[in-house]
Symmetry: C2
Subunit: 160 residues, 2 copies
Amino acid sequence: MDKLEELKDAFVETAGQMATSLGLSRVVGQLYGLLFVSKEPFSLDEMAEKLKISKGNVSVNIRELERWGAAKKIWTKGSRKDFYEAESDITKVVMNKLVFGLKRRMDMIAASIEKIEKELSVHEQNKETSFFKERLNVIKEIPQTAEGLLNIIQRFAEKK
Amino acid sequence: MDKLEELKDAFVETAGQMATSLGLSRVVGQLYGLLFVSKEPFSLDEMAEKLKISKGNVSVNIRELERWGAAKKIWTKGSRKDFYEAESDITKVVMNKLVFGLKRRMDMIAASIEKIEKELSVHEQNKETSFFKERLNVIKEIPQTAEGLLNIIQRFAEKK
DNA sequence: TAATATGTTCAGAACTTTTTGAACGATATG
DNA sequence: CATATCGTTCAAAAAGTTCTGAACATATTA
């Protein structure tokens, strides 16, 4: 195999690992990597062929990338195929996706804790409940802290 | 069932979700939650009973918590059982674990990319390789950016 | 309109992760 | 020393996740 192709493959694999490290799907990372190092856009079939995965798999994951704004469809004269290319300013897109997702989860957790706290306050008060309340107050700080951090990260990403 | 027990169960479940959101194991989160809202330490069997999971499962996961410094074994007079209680200053511990893990992965990725870059530089130079190089330079920023962010987070956590 | 070339869907297969529980070793008790 | 009570281990089961590919829908071409 061509040495250049080998290096591209290695890059695609690294992109897959990177995605995994960020809690995203491996195939999504590989697809993005593939498009990112190619000047030419690729069709579904080409992507499936290059990554040795099924067309169905590509179809689902490429649309995921499109949904995030990380890949875009290219219309090509004289072909019925959908071609895709990488949106090169990916960092912001992925960052936002991650930050937004984490924020949402933190909000859900904060809501759960508040609900418990509220129900606890209408419960009979005794030593056990007051210990529980104390603990809840400690734990409540986590989503708050996380929220603060996520804001910092977001500002950091926007500055870029 | 006792209302207070119900609320504690809800809390334990929330702790499990929180762990999941941070990329940790659900059971580890549940175990920590269980210990965290209990004044009394628990034995293996008690934890298994409360969470309705096997003793083997508890054994493995409680040691994980212990390894992180998030739970500690309590010696109790007149009992052969191991009792555990929550280390209450968990935030820093978990934060460090997460940050450290992410840093390690980013380092690995940075190394992969550098390796590719190096091999590319000894390859014949043409239009295609220079495009590839350009792209590599863009992607190289990601682990660098992440590293910077992780440092910010770490400082943030230490301030707490 | 029929045939062809696409992208999409989703049931089941393949793979991965988590959990169980029986077997085991270690330690305490009688 | 025999028995009972622990915690640990790990093979196999269960549950969860990802992938495939055949069936299908839609659009294009002849």
